[in-house]
Amino acid sequence: MSTVPVEPVVEAPRNYLNASYGVKSWLLTTDHKRIALLYLVTITILFFLGGAFAVMIRLELATPQGDLMTPDTYNKMFTLHGIIMVFFFLVPSIPATLGNFLVPMMIGARDMAFPRINLLSWYVLTIGAVISISAAVMGGVDTGWTFYTPYSTTYSNTYVTLMAVGIFIAGFSSILTGLNFIVTIHTMRAPGLTWFRMPLFIWSHYATAIIIMLGTPVIAITLLLVGAERTLKLGIFDPALGGDPILFQHLFWFYSHPAVYIMVLPAMGVVSELITCFSRKRIFGYSFVALSSVAIAILSFLVWGHHLFVSGQSVYAGMIFSLLSFMVAVPSAIKVFNWTATLYRGSISYDTPMLYAFGFIGLFTIGGLTGLFVATMAIDLHVHDTYFIIAHFHYIMVGGTVMAYMGGLHYWWPKMTGRMYPEGWAKFSALVLFVGFNLTFFPQFILGYLGMPRRYYAYPEEFQVLNVMSSAGATILGVGYLIPLVYLFWSMRYGERASSNPWGATSLEWQTPSPPPTENFTVTPVVTEEAYTYSHEAPEHV
């Protein structure tokens, strides 16, 4: 939408933000919207912390020699970058902030099914984060975010156990959030909101919650076993005692492959909302998009072995895992095709959230297609543990998840704060992010294909040009994240006041004032039609 909202601005006299004041009213709140903001603050801090470690990595790699830090320090830098970004930013990112804010609102509920457990999950994440950060401060961890045994159990002299405890605790936050989502979606939908009328955002969060519930306990117990092996000499992963380090990889990836979908499914849900709203069209193939989320959730548990092609897994197992990994691409592709078909002949407007949605589709497609490369055993032998892998999963996690997260944050910002963000700056930073991202990670595909291994702090001279491009891109990317940080803060006070439905969107959260009252809806909404009843018209003509 390119014009200012036309609805008269009605001052909401009382909303969830001004319902009460003071630190206590926030730290003891059970309002899902306030908890979402608590999460937003927490994970934003963690995001920039994880980003700081990335800065150190890219600085070191600007030159072929290892000249900025010792190899030990470098090992800690990429480990801490990975751990903080994966476990403390990407996993909670969209579900804990946007999901927490929107799941009850989109289904017409007053709150989550378990509001106090919701608050508890924020505390649990915060405690886990504090423990992990203290492990980082006391001396760091150098195992890589994957904690591979036997290095993590036997050889590393860093704070592995403490870090494992931090992640173990944070896992409970995931489980509690997932449990809350499933129960809320089952039991608290407004009258008339049948399963196949739910916004796709809800479907994707439902599927995500299933993965969280089934996967997280496995990583939790696995990391606990790593800790127990270090402290009590438990030995399940120790070949000297009859254990098997490969067993760790099986257990680790049983969670950590599905975890990719914990990060990406909510992003897909966001994109479905953005694409429909800004092309003013119904989603093409609603039930396909909805059920493909569930299909992804199930299939994602059957492909973990594609991380073990070179780890000493039987070649037949490898072939089956390879085949299954190709199959998981099918529901993902269904989504991409359906979004594209939705765009076809839509009245598309290029507002910031839509730019991010386009960014998501393009970058996720590249990430997904290179995923097929690495799911092919022969190619994986060549690119395994190279920068090709790094580039591949950053296209999924940053190009996919973070782009959608930014898009969603902009789209729902007026609802969350009651203020519009500055559109010009937002478009500019979306562009900066897109350019910076591709400049950072595209050269890494080439580097990996040429054979540059990951996790090295020095490299041969001939790789320098591509590495400098990557480091330069990372700088641009960093700027692209700092600009929104500034203007979003600014807009909370000085932004133009938002109407209840600035985008002319159809889902329930837009039918209550911005920001919403504490109870979300003054009258319980009743749903009489499917989701996305857009009628091809730009919102100003509604």
Partner: protein, 209 residues
């Protein structure tokens, strides 16, 4: 467009707010927690099976007397406790608080009996020199897997005992609804069910020749 949706209640068919299988939100929450927790035990049981199959000579330390006999008594205790718990739930549903409490207390006693016998088993093994990292029978992982698996299960039983005690204490004062009893029962049956995997996989497969 916006206003067309906000109809007074009753004018649209009710598709939301219907709990699946008429399960309340607390009960659904417990089911999901148990689903999640079952994955914890699955991971450990699979890890145990994996290292056991990979090992040449896994120790077979459990003699029919006393180990297997005791484990059978423990199994019997847990099975009975599930039965008394089921009676307790039924009584609570009838509104018969007195016998509900009595049955829950019986369940707790069975649970405590299980823990005591199990602790005794642990002490015997520790006396024989079985440690987390070594044991006189050979494969060090026997101790690691045995103590981890049964320890996690025992922790669940112990938490269950406390949970049931809280429910039993609050029931007469109407602090809990009969559904709360049922939910605690779900947890208890789950703990029982897990033991039905541990008993054959850990004990019956390791009977001394």
């Amino acid at each position: 467009m916006a206003d067309s949706r906000v109809l007074p209640l009753g004018e649209a068919e009710w598709g939301g707010g219907v709990s699946p299988y008429a399960v309340g939100h607390k009960k659904l929450g417990m089911w999901l927690f148990l689903l999640s927790d079952s994955l914890t035990f699955s991971a450990l049981l699979i890890a145990y099976s994996y290292v056991r199959i990979a090992s040449d000579q896994w120790p077979l330390p459990f003699h029919l007397w006393p180990s297997i006999a005791m484990a059978t008594v423990m199994t019997f205790l847990l099975l009975s406790s599930s039965l008394t718990m089921a009676f307790g739930v039924a009584a609570a549903k009838r509104g018969d608080t007195r016998s509900a409490v009595r049955f829950i207390v019986l369940t707790i006693l069975c649970g405590v009996g299980f823990v005591v016998l199990h602790a005794n088993e642990w002490m015997t093994l520790i006396d024989e020199g079985v440690r987390l990292w070594s044991n006189p029978m050979g494969t060090p992982l026997f101790g690691a897997t045995f103590f981890t698996l049964t320890g996690l299960h025992m922790a669940h039983v112990a938490s269950g005992v406390i949970y049931l005690a809280v429910i039993a204490a609050g029931l007469p004062g109407n602090r809990f609804h009969h559904e709360d009893v049922e939910i605690s029962g779900l947890y208890w049956h789950f703990v029982d069910l897990v033991w039905m995997f541990i008993f054959p996989l850990v004990y019956l497969l390791s009977v001394a020749p």
